[in-house]
Symmetry: C2
Subunit: 146 residues, 2 copies
DNA sequence: TGTTGCTATGAACTATAGTTTAGGGTTTAA
DNA sequence: TTAAACCCTAAACTATAGTTCATAGCAACA
């Protein structure tokens, strides 16, 4: 049978603070959520599907404003399919670009970690400090290690 | 020969606004940068190396405060190697976790794109709308498509 | 020597994404 | 029927990461 969920249950399911769900609603991300006569939000299973999508977009760095735009298109029915596809394809490109940037940065970070983890890390770092000090001295610049 | 760089040159090299570099300096991210007698910042090649690392950490989501902490450890010399390693290993875990989350979300986004790109996308979406409407009706909740 | 362009600071301002508070209704279970 | 546990809104507040502005001092070149 179809169940409904309170805001607290939804918050637990998605590991979000209740305040964040209310904030999303205020920002127009949850126009599909009904309210009962007392004014309480009543979430259905299909609502949870939408929220899952919202979390997906959020976790990949889409702004609230863009997500709102996407949800708005969803609520307008089948006529907006092309717009939605365009929006998601654009976002997909952004995500892939970000993935690449993270990948690249992570490699640099790993190199630093390896230096620090080396048995001769103290020597490596000491040599680097000396190098910087010589460079700075040759340019008549202040020694940053002092 | 060792060259020096103005803030403008550094901004161009790293594709950062000049205001951001000043902001980073104010936040304690650039304690290694010297100033000439006029008060102008003078960047050396080793400074650029540091800034490269800062960009790395920033691009993988480290906060300004954490980066400041890392740089501070760097300036304290070889005695802080263990602390730096710990800090970067911790960050590494965060980055990898984020990578996984992005990977997972991207798959969901791709599924949506595929639905929208399907030759029968209109039917798929129409069926979904009908499903939601039935679910909402069976729960005596307002139809969100109207 | 003056004009153009670069640099500086501090303070105010902006954007984004929430969180907290105040004040007040609702639901549930003893 | 009343206390505890929910839920609501509006508005104020916070945190983060910058950006912009006002004012003013250097630098390079015609």
């Amino acid at each position: 049978m179809n169940k409904t969920y309170s805001i607290k249950e939804v918050a637990e399911k998605f590991a979000l603070p209740i305040s964040t769900i209310r904030y999303y609603d205020k920002k127009g991300l949850l126009p599909f959520v009904s309210k009962n006569k007392a004014g309480y939000r009543v979430f259905s299973d299909s609502d949870l599907q939408f929220i899952q999508t919202i979390c997906c977009l959020k976790d990949t760095g889409m702004s609230i404003k863009k997500i709102q735009k996407y949800i708005e298109l969803c609520m307008q029915g089948s006529t907006t399919i092309d717009d939605r596809k365009t929006l998601l394809l654009q976002h997909r490109q952004n995500v892939i670009q970000k993935q690449k940037a993270i990948e690249k940065s992570l490699k640099e970070i790993d190199q630093k970690i390896n230096r620090y983890a080396s048995p001769i890390s103290r020597d490596l770092i000491a040599a680097q400090i000396t190098y910087v000090q010589n460079e700075k001295a040759s340019l008549n610049l202040k020694d940053p290690f002092s």
